[in-house]
């Protein structure tokens, strides 16, 4: 569905709250379980991010590494991921889904074939962690041509000059990394400083949807309510790990967590 990402932000804005975005790893801990989790939490979500597991992730913290490891151990493949996205979209056609992964997985599959597959399975957006600007220009164009949102990232280390160029080349959504870290570590900066970085991006182009991710948990989420969107990943993956360890059902536990997160931002 075209522009479903923009719509998701519009809906959240109408309700005067940030969009809630989850990150889980596709196939964690099994293919079916990961789809059940996503189906269950999606009622509280505005956008779902699904990770494509890779065994040499250079920007992920322990929690997401564990999730990816479980998914790979259970044999997840790219073609399975596309099938699962299709199944998800069948029941929730208007819920935007973004795939997130490392460039090696796309490169190995073939860029064009990968994007074609995304398109037919119903993927709305892509985040490629290690394909940063300006190296991503061609790939981003290819995404746009196929109505897929390529999500550019901005980090605390990004200079203003670079920020302007990245924003100019961005699509509907921009991902702001809150703090200098891999995924899932504690916020190193004060909320004030994170909001300041966020405002710097918004000032350049107020109409862009900017989401904040990395280090967002139940504890920190309400302080960042003023953002267009907030991404929670490691906190959810951690809950899956804990549930599996305690032999509990990750579907219900994760759903509870996501509900709690949602309640903190409405």
């Amino acid at each position: 569905m075209k522009n479903s990402i923009n719509n998701a932000f519009k809906v959240a804005k109408k309700e005067n709250r940030p969009a809630l975005i989850s990150y889980t790893v596709c196939g964690d801990n099994t293919k079916d379980k990961s789809l059940q989790i996503l189906n269950s939490i999606s009622r509280d979500l505005d956008i779902a991010e699904w990770g494509i597991p890779h065994n040499c992730p250079t920007a992920d913290g322990k929690d997401i590494q564990n999730s990816s490891y479980r998914a790979l151990q259970n044999g997840i493949r790219l073609n399975d991921i596309f099938k699962l996205v299709k199944r998800f979209k069948k029941t929730k056609p208007s819920k935007p889904i973004i795939l997130m992964g490392y460039y090696q997985m796309i490169f190995n599959y073939g860029e064009k074939k990968f994007i074609q597959k995304c398109k037919v399975s119903g993927v709305d957006g892509l985040i490629v962690v290690d394909l940063s600007f300006p190296d991503n220009k061609n790939f981003a164009k290819l995404c746009k041509k196929n109505s897929i949102c390529f999500v550019q990232l901005i980090a605390p280390t990004t200079t203003v000059k670079r920020m302007k160029e990245i924003i100019k080349n961005s699509h509907e959504m921009i991902y702001m990394i809150s703090t200098i870290s891999t995924t899932g570590s504690a916020l190193k900066y004060s909320i004030k400083r994170i909001i300041k970085n966020y405002n710097a991006i918004k000032k350049i182009k107020p109409s862009k949807n900017v989401v904040i991710g990395f280090g967002i948990t139940e504890k920190t989420i309400s302080n960042l309510k003023s953002a267009d969107g907030l991404v929670v990943g490691s906190a959810i993956c951690r809950e899956i790990t804990r549930s599996l360890k305690d032999r509990q059902n990750p579907v219900t536990n994760v759903s509870k967590i996501v509900r709690k997160l949602k309640n903190k931002i409405i």
């Binding site: 090696q104 190296d135 200079t159 990394i177």
Partner: protein
């Protein structure tokens, strides 16, 4: 076929995106790392032209690392094999016991110049870790070394060196618990600490700037060798330069000054470990640790596990610069098994006084295979890039003894 540029150092033959031959290298990294690596690139480009810095580097190479490493003929081995003349560039004689000493020292010097107080590096065989720990101590830097737990146990003597020098050795327990995982973990550490930490990548791999710094540092080996050859032969004779390849940092240093020569004049031969051999087994190009390179993967594109007795070679990828040398036809690559390397060690140490580590034992194996087929006028030079003491335990386990 990719064409190499003459009279341009191989490390500088990339485009503005960091690609060699439109195919290898690049900067596949998280946005957080972009600014730090850009800053590092600027600093490095400035320093490599800065006379004061070069003087400092040379001073450290001479007085801290012990100066020129020896070059000599292995008379007994030459006689025994009865073909080509066999010569040894004994880089293992350096203070620090391996070529990684150059690379580690330069990184510590750059870290100092950058004003950062922390330095982090990965290591497999422990040679880079040990040298980085010692250089950091010398230059008063706080040092963290990332090492797979499998390597920590099989390269224990080097781990002790690192700890004694005051470095923190961070055990990496993910994946295959070897070098590939250590590099990943070290890069993650950098992503989280790039505001105060200098990243010293242990081989000629990683984003563009890291492999440039590495190959620039080790090129000291071929600068010396060129002089030594002329002193010995009065010219550059018809040569074959044989070097082991893990990531490929020692080979790049050993070959750097000879790349512009015709391959019929100076042939470059790289030897990989048999089950970690992306260059010699026609592996596909993959993205690993920030760069496109020949790399072992499975069908799905996941990075494959490797298997080698030698921790320094137990790595699925290869330097993008070796991809360039392979595709341009300038270098050729082959491989040797654990067994081949052990047999080479056995023969060499029986006939000669050198004690190569498992890594250069692979290069010696190719030398032993080639020499009998060649003429007396042919000159084979092997880079003996690491000292064997670190593998003493493995040699005893496999061969039953370690020579005096």
């Amino acid at each position: 076929m990719i064409k190499l540029k003459k009279k341009t150092p191989i490390i500088d033959q990339h485009d503005k995106f960091g690609f060699y031959g439109n195919k290898f290298g690049g900067n596949y990294c998280a946005e957080t790392m972009r600014k730090p690596i850009e800053d590092l690139s600027k600093l490095f480009e400035k320093l490599r032209k800065d006379r004061k810095f070069l003087k400092k580097r040379d001073h450290y190479f001479k007085h801290y690392l012990g100066g020129e490493t020896p070059f000599f003929k292995l008379e007994n081995l030459t006689r025994y094999l009865g073909g080509a003349q066999i010569w040894c560039k004994d880089v293992s004689a350096i203070n620090g016991d391996a070529h990684k000493a150059y690379h580690a020292t330069v990184n510590a010097l750059i870290c100092k110049e950058s004003g950062k107080r922390y330095i982090a590096g990965d290591t497999g065989a422990g040679m880079f870790g040990k040298n980085l720990a010692m250089a950091a101590k010398k230059m008063n830097l706080k040092c963290k070394i990332f090492m797979g737990t499998k390597d920590i146990s099989r390269q224990a003597p080097n781990v002790k060196f690192m700890r004694d020098a005051g470095a923190e050795v961070v055990p990496v327990n993910s994946g295959s618990k070897t070098l590939v995982d250590a590099v990943s973990e070290c890069m993650r550490h950098y992503v989280s600490n790039c505001d105060n930490t200098h990243l010293a990548v242990g081989s000629a791999i990683g984003c563009n700037i890291f492999l440039k710094i590495c190959a620039w540092s080790t090129s000291q080996i071929s600068r010396e060798l060129k002089k030594q050859l002329i002193l010995e032969f009065g010219e550059i004779p018809k040569l074959k330069l044989i070097n082991v390849i893990g990531g490929g940092s020692s080979a790049l240093g050993f070959w750097n000054e000879f790349i512009d020569y015709d391959k019929k004049h100076v042939e470059l031969i790289g030897v990989e470990a048999k089950y970690a051999a992306p260059l010699s087994t026609n592996a596909k190009v993959a993205i690993l640790h920030g760069a496109a390179q020949y790399c072992l993967t499975d069908k799905e594109g996941q990075i494959a596990e490797t298997r080698s007795l030698s921790a320094g070679l137990d790595y699925p990828g290869s330097s993008p610069l070796h991809g360039l040398l392979k595709d341009s036809g300038r270098a050729r690559y082959t491989n040797a098994s654990d067994k081949d390397a052990l047999a080479a060690f056995k023969l060499i140490t029986k006939l000669e006084d050198i004690r190569p580590s498992l890594e250069p034992a692979h290069a010696w194996s190719e030398c032993i295979r080639l020499a009998p087929k060649l003429k007396k006028s042919d000159v084979l030079v092997v880079n003996n890039c690491g000292k064997g003491y670190k593998d003493k335990k493995i040699y005893i386990e496999e061969l039953g003894y370690y020579p005096k």
